[in-house]
Amino acid sequence: MLDTVILIVFAMIGLSLLLNLWRLLIGPSVPDRILALDTMYINSIALIILYGMSMGTGLYFEAALLIAMLGFVSTVAVCKYLLRGDIIE
């Protein structure tokens, strides 16, 4: 059963990713796109966690952890750029 559920959730995450991509593509504003990208980062965490579960290995946990940490930094950096131009001032 778990395998089926994992497959279903895979599909859900896949759909989410496509929805994110849709938003990323149509925008219309830059913040919209950044938001879409940020969500994509988080959804990728879900994807990787699911991979880990479907393969039964915890080896990919750190990848998920880093996306959580680092996706945030990219989002912040881009926003700072929109706000101030110079991100390290």
Binding site: V9, M12, S16, D38, C79
Partner: protein, 110 residues
Amino acid sequence: MTEWIISILLLIGGSFVLVGSIGLVKMPDFFMRLHGPTKATTLGMASLLTAAMVFFSTAQSGLSVKEILISIFLLLTAPISGYMLIKSAIHHKLDSIERTQGKDNIEDDV
């Protein structure tokens, strides 16, 4: 039993993540779109990670609780990402839909 718990948690998580992304696509203006990813996705992720926690705790020998960490990170960072995003949206003077109330509460940031 654990398989049931895991499955339910997974499905809940997946649904919330999906809902977050649906919100991202469906909502009419940027400010409303922001709500989905900051909340639904975060909770969905928490649920998924809990599922993973249970999964690894049972599948492998010993407790696996490090998945909580990701949740902590997300809970810490999601509001800030949202805040930075909405700040830039305000800075870009993005339109909110007509019926938005209290638009005059926004101050010009330049």
